[in-house]
């Protein structure tokens, strides 16, 4: 029996739909945006109550090291449970912790902690300990070749392809429902991270290949918290660049960032090396205007633009596969292509279509925007940089993907809580039985917060996502081509249709993950 969660009430969808229309009308009718996005930052080290704590933690290593060890231990426990524990998905810590808690909570955590996950990422830390032979200090280990990453790989395409591959494994092959396969995936991550660290300089895996890190990095551009300089002037006058080169004891920035020039959070792994190595103690966690990066600061690159579109498409695809209609599609496609095994061909066709449709739709929107801009201003088409327009407006996809990702995962998070005490006391699930129908029903009814609160949160998140995307369109459109008014209509329509489809999916009953 397949258990489903009830969807967002239609009333919420209508309210959001009307708000979208009003926001779009405002975006077209309002005056051109000025550069006045609030760039004010508040250093957490100078806040009245918690400032002292943050100042202390910025200068110490023990807490971060402790967290790294804790997360690495949990990761090893997951591998152990996956390889030697029960095959019953809901009774094994490997599957429940990975897919119910971590994968769901990770995206929600980005909202509150930016890219902090990367600092405690277990596969990277295990790889670092194995290769560097040091727990946290700078290492001169001979186990690293320190090769330069080939130029063709210095982009996020490897991460994009791995992300697509992992989605195929997760949903198509069904590693979500296999503790053993979950453990294998964890081991693969360790192997990839170790190999990249041993071969290349810096942390090439984190920067170019890790699909989780790149997802967290992309979304953290919308986070209200990030590591940044307290005083920009100190960084401007800095000649030694310890954040980039490291110090005698502290390793350099693993993703080769210079804090004084940092405008986007994408590649910051929150490792804290810069806070420790900066002789002026000028780097700290800062509160900032959420989404200011996506709207204004972040510099567009083509590979990152494609990653954001892939992120949007795969996020929507996750939701799509949990709807009732997906099963009907799979049956129909299986009959069409005579797919009688695990329906892998039918699934793969669906995955490719889900990747192509939003991307093609985005391309069409960009093409129409371009046409409107060229016609209106009399600019020669040859002089228009299509790539710049494509990558600049791709930031529109980011809040749309993030909003749906959180709204969708929020349902899993509050409705599919496991019996953690029982799981922690028996992580391998030895001697356990599958959940009975009554237990499944009980779990379904035992919601963490009230349903109305959940729906309100989902509605507000979806609305905020669309509102931020409208701001992105207005500001980026004006900066790229001085585009305003009706010229923004195609890309606004893109945002509206994507949000409408996401709302449609949220309104539908959704299958439980496990």
């Amino acid at each position: 029996m397949i258990m489903t969660h009830s969807g967002l009430p239609l009333g919420w969808a209508i309210v959001i739909g009307i708000s979208m229309l009003l926001l779009s009308v405002w975006a077209i009718a309002a005056q051109s945006p000025n550069a006045g996005i609030n760039s004010k930052k508040i250093s957490l080290t100078s806040t009245p109550l918690v400032g002292g704590i943050f100042r202390y933690l910025s200068g110490t290593t023990w807490l971060l090291l402790l967290l790294k060890i804790v997360f690495a231990s949990i990761f090893i426990l997951i591998i152990t449970a996956g390889l030697w524990g029960t095959a019953i998905v809901e009774r094994n810590l490997a599957t429940t912790l990975t897919w119910n808690l971590w994968w769901t909570g990770l995206i929600i955590a980005v909202l509150f902690s930016g890219s902090a996950w990367c600092a405690v990422c277990p596969w990277d830390n295990i790889a670092t300990w194995l290769v560097n032979h040091k727990l946290w200090q700078r290492s001169n280990s001979n186990s690293r070749l320190q090769l330069k990453v080939p130029h063709s790989l210095r982009n996020v395409w490897p991460a994009s392809l791995l992300f697509i591959g992992f989605t195929w494994l997760e949903l198509g092959i069904g590693i979500v429902s296999s503790p053993y396969a979950t453990a294998l995936l964890a081991l693969v991550m360790v192997i990839l991270a170790t190999t990249a660290l041993a071969l290349f300089e810096g942390k090439a895996f984190c920067r170019y290949m890790c699909p989780v890190g790149r997802t967290v990095g992309a979304y953290s551009q919308l986070s209200p918290i990030a590591l940044r300089p307290i005083d920009n002037d100190i960084c401007k006058n800095c000649k030694t660049l310890e954040c980039f080169h490291g110090s005698e004891k502290i390793a350099p920035c693993p993703t080769k960032l210079i804090m004084g020039r940092l405008q986007e959070n994408t590649y910051c792994t929150s490792c804290g090396n810069c806070t420790l190595s900066c002789p002026s103690k000028n780097i700290s966690w800062q509160l900032r205007s959420p989404s200011s990066e996506a709207i204004k600061d972040a510099r567009p690159h083509l590979d990152e633009a494609f990653f954001m579109l892939i992120l949007l498409a795969l996020t929507m695809f996750h939701g799509l596969t949990m709807l009732d209609g997906w099963q009907s599609y799979m049956t129909l496609m299986a009959q069409l292509v005579n797919d009688n095994s695990q329906l892998i061909i039918s699934f793969s066709v669906g995955l490719v279509a889900s990747l192509l449709i939003p991307s093609l739709f985005y391309l069409l929107s960009i093409g129409m925007t371009l046409k409107l801009c060229v016609n209106k201003k009399g600019i020669s088409r040859d002089k228009v940089d299509f790539n710049k327009l494509f990558s600049g407006f791709a930031f529109t996809a980011l809040p749309l993907a993030f909003a749906y990702h959180i709204a969708h995962n929020l349902t899993h998070f509050v409705r599919e809580s496991s019996d953690w005490l029982a799981l922690l006391s028996n992580p391998l699930g030895k001697g356990t039985e599958p959940l009975s129908m009554m237990e499944k029903h009980m779990r379904h009814m035992d919601i963490m917060i009230s349903e109305n609160v959940l729906f309100t949160l989902q509605g507000l998140i979806m609305l905020a996502g669309f509102a931020i995307s409208v701001l992105v369109i207005r500001h980026r459109g004006y900066r790229l081509f001085a585009a305003k008014g009706i010229q923004l209509l195609p890309i606004l329509i893109f945002a509206m249709i994507i949000t409408s489809f996401n709302l449609f999916m949220l309104v539908q009953p959704m299958t439980m993950r496990m």
């Binding site: 194995l130 186990s143 690293r144 081991l187 192997i191 041993a198 009688n340 695990q342």
Partner: protein, 199 residues
């Protein structure tokens, strides 16, 4: 002395009889054990599908290539405990990643091994595998116009001695070792080159 000899004989007989009992399982000599013997199963699974509770057992405890084995299947209705009385078709296919998960070559590897009717409340299906490996046994029957397909895993022979942990540790060990050697050679070479340029 006579008593001692008698005691010795008694102890000897007792020991021998104990040892000979060790060759018997439930009163039968070990050489007469086969797939129909009441040995412990390698796997016992209970599940429910549609209207039925299914219990599945594989005998013997460790099925090996070229040695006969048996699957026992019990099916009872959930609502009234009535035993299923339809014939069940058993088939088997390879459970490797490429055949089972990706579906490559499945048509060749899927093979019907028998159609069984109920015998004393149990469906018994014998098997004999030539090669060791992981297989999927499928039990198929129809009831109330509905098809029922139940897949069960079956491992024949011993699994690979190198598991995923062994493979991971081995890979990382050789990677780091070879990089370490290469790096030391690079450093030594650069020192020699530096020395030559100084001279």
């Amino acid at each position: 002395m006579k008593n001692t000899a008698l005691a010795f004989i008694f102890v000897y007989i007792a020991l021998v009889s104990t040892l000979s009992n060790a060759h018997h399982v439930l009163g039968r000599p070990s050489y007469s054990l086969n797939e129909d013997s009441n040995t412990p199963p390698s796997m016992a699974i209970e599940t429910q599908i549609g209207e039925y509770f299914i219990t599945y057992m594989v005998f013997p405890a460790f099925p090996k290539p070229n040695e006969p084995g048996r699957v026992n299947l019990y099916a009872t209705r959930i609502d009234n405990g009535e035993v299923l009385a339809q014939p069940i078709t058993f088939s088997v296919r390879d459970d490797s990643f490429f055949t089972e998960t990706l579906g490559f070559g499945q048509a060749e590897s899927s093979e019907q091994i028998g159609v069984q009717t109920i015998d004393d409340g149990v469906y018994r299906q014998g098997f004999l595998f030539r090669k060791k490996g992981n297989y999927i046994v499928r039990a198929y029957f129809e009831d109330g116009g509905e098809p029922y397909e139940i897949d069960f895993p079956l491992q024949v022979g011993e699994s690979s001695p190198i598991g995923p942990i062994g493979a991971t540790i081995g890979f990382i060990f050789f990677l780091l070792l070879s990089i370490n050697i290469a790096q030391r050679k690079r450093i030594a070479r650069s020192k020699v080159q530096q020395g030559q340029s100084v001279r």
